[in-house]
Symmetry: C2
Subunit: 254 residues, 2 copies
Amino acid sequence: MRYVLTVAYDGTEFSGWQRQKGATSVQETLENAVLAALGKTVRVTGSGRTDAGVHAAGQVCHFDLDATVPPEKMPDCLNVKLPASVRVLSGRAGAESFDSCRSAKKKTYRYSLYESEREMPLKERYAVRAESIPTLAALKKAASLMEGTKDFKAFCSSGSAVKTTVRTVYEVRVEEGKSFGSRDVFISVCGNGFLYNMVRTMVGELLDLASGKRSEESLLEAFQSGQRGLLGKTMPAKGLCLMNVAYGEEDEND
Amino acid sequence: MRYVLTVAYDGTEFSGWQRQKGATSVQETLENAVLAALGKTVRVTGSGRTDAGVHAAGQVCHFDLDATVPPEKMPDCLNVKLPASVRVLSGRAGAESFDSCRSAKKKTYRYSLYESEREMPLKERYAVRAESIPTLAALKKAASLMEGTKDFKAFCSSGSAVKTTVRTVYEVRVEEGKSFGSRDVFISVCGNGFLYNMVRTMVGELLDLASGKRSEESLLEAFQSGQRGLLGKTMPAKGLCLMNVAYGEEDEND
């Protein structure tokens, strides 16, 4: 049986999604929970890797297992074996053709910022501080420049080997709120796939564009030339959260 | 010079505000930061104790120190010596008659809940999960029963020695929101002072009243008799946050 799970995690203490020697990954933590709960060794495949420190509210993964546990009981079965920083939110059965990585149609990431002169301990874990964040109007204008089917090569950190660097970004949504007396800004990016560090580089560039530190012209040049050096900095991991992975009409959730 | 500081902290790893042997308190952490930064031993007095695990976005404290550091520079001076879980947000000079505890006129605490069938790792640190939380209307109705000048003896955990258990609760405000696909409920309580565990007991009782598990009659009986047994449970510490301490018109902040 192919088990498909939706998983949430606080990425602070993890070396990232992917299993690696000498470090604690989310993938290995889930595999260990299956072993502890059911005595079986499985290989868990995620919809994609998340970097060290990146969080997830709706990561999707799958594994094959010869077990009698109904998929909807898998959360209860595994959660008792998982550390508090990881929780299986739901489980379902997947077709043999389903692959949580290759079948993914759309992913949504959210980046969280807050505006404050000083660090706020109750926000620091899941958001990144800035002394000043551009206005919502300026951010929305810059966000619209990132939408569409484009070559995002310049937004990709070096070292990744991919066939194509063309991706479709369906929407870059900017929202704001207020909590603990300071301004919060959330940038949600929905696309058909993302290159390594792409969202974090998009957010850095967005802030620079909206503040006037960089121009629309240099962004267009970056899209054309693919040169990483033409863009703003890659933002820290802790502000990023994988919100949702969608697999087609019947699998849509929010 | 009397230095008055506004301090925020993530209470998760602390044994509470008050210094105690063999445990790490926020008070001691601040005193150690003054010692490390300025080489002086001080005794920091807070507006009140917060329990182990309780957070603060706006705790106020003071200490006397013969130093040339301007009060508004004290945050920069101490923050470099503090762990990331504690930050001094602002500093000012206080009159000799000012006492962060005795001079406090109003305090506001906020309790955070979220509604979810399962634990959500990104909410668990600062909020308490409930499978079902009553409607906003029912919560507001119950909240109004807690407001006013009353004897809150039944809301006080045993073991505390206070002159009077009469307190004035100016407002119990209930708000809701949504994040990561689940409902959030915030209960803010503003009063002239609070007994030990009073806010956490108020929230437990509020939930019971709003869900119909307990009646308005039993609440009135609890107010009259002062019997703790007539009320709902004391809610966990991690959902509680000291938001603000006000000292009079000129010191009002939010």
